[in-house]
Point group: C2
Chain length 157, copies 2
């Protein structure tokens, strides 16, 4: 059970964008340089965040990305599911209906109790990540972080 490597990238990039002044954007090239990431692949991930409503993209020579909503309204779950999808890691292929032990259809009207318990665990994971917003992450950073982030991102320091 592995999340894509890009999960770390998008969590960090969203945290970085959350530290910009209102109205300011950052380009894929700036974010790629900031974390030393491959720009073409990062661009694809940032587009996934736009599609999920986490980021907004502006076009033109000064175009780039910014948060689509206030940091307090963006959760870690939204960011992670933007690049990995929402499906549960457990796949129930209904083997209870197969082979010599196959249960009759009338015994399979309810979800298999094992699939149910696996789904509950996935919901516990989702709930944990829903409980953390980008604003919570920013609040845990040192007070000097936003100024440093902005100047490094702009390449002025």
């Amino acid at each position: 059970m592995k999340l894509p490597v890009s999960t770390e990238w998008v969590l960090h990039c969203a945290t970085t964008l959350a530290q910009l002044e209102p109205g300011v954007t950052a380009s894929t090239a700036q974010l790629a340089q900031y974390y030393d990431l491959p720009a073409p692949y990062l661009a694809k991930q940032l587009q996934a965040l736009v599609k999920a409503g986490v980021l907004a993209a502006t076009t033109g020579p000064r175009g780039g990305f910014r948060l689509a909503r206030p940091a307090s309204e963006i959760t870690l779950l939204q960011i992670v599911e933007a690049v990995d999808g929402t499906s549960s890691p457990y796949e129930c292929r209904e083997i209870r209906r197969r082979g010599r032990g196959a249960l009759p259809p009338e015994d399979c009207r309810n979800t298999c109790v094992l699939a149910e318990k696996m789904a509950e665990a996935h919901e516990a994971w989702r709930r944990s990540l829903t409980g953390v917003s980008l604003a919570d992450i920013l609040a845990s950073l040192p007070p000097s972080a936003p100024a440093r982030t902005r100047s490094r991102l702009a390449g002025t320091s």
Copy 2:
């Protein structure tokens, strides 16, 4: 983020073995026929459960598998981690130390707050599955299930 397909197999096989009379075992061939699964690959998964202390294997012409402990002492987490390992789905490669935004070592003494929140979510998932034992699963089955399971597994019905 996907668990192996065999996760469903081992959860069901352990539930099946939990329904046998004390001292009775089932062979790989019996379990494979019961769920119509490929025996060689299932054998590998059952060995992983033995290694994890969930099942005990007996050898000889009547050899097979049984639970290594009472059903109340075997959790879904132990079964799932026997085939998928214990590592978190989130991989932190410390990109905070890389590129133009690289943080100095003194700012990286603590775990990155994003990695910390992802680890908390994984712990919530593990806690959920630790809270469910095979005895809990058995308690949710219809009272007629164990007798049916035994006769189908033995091939006598």
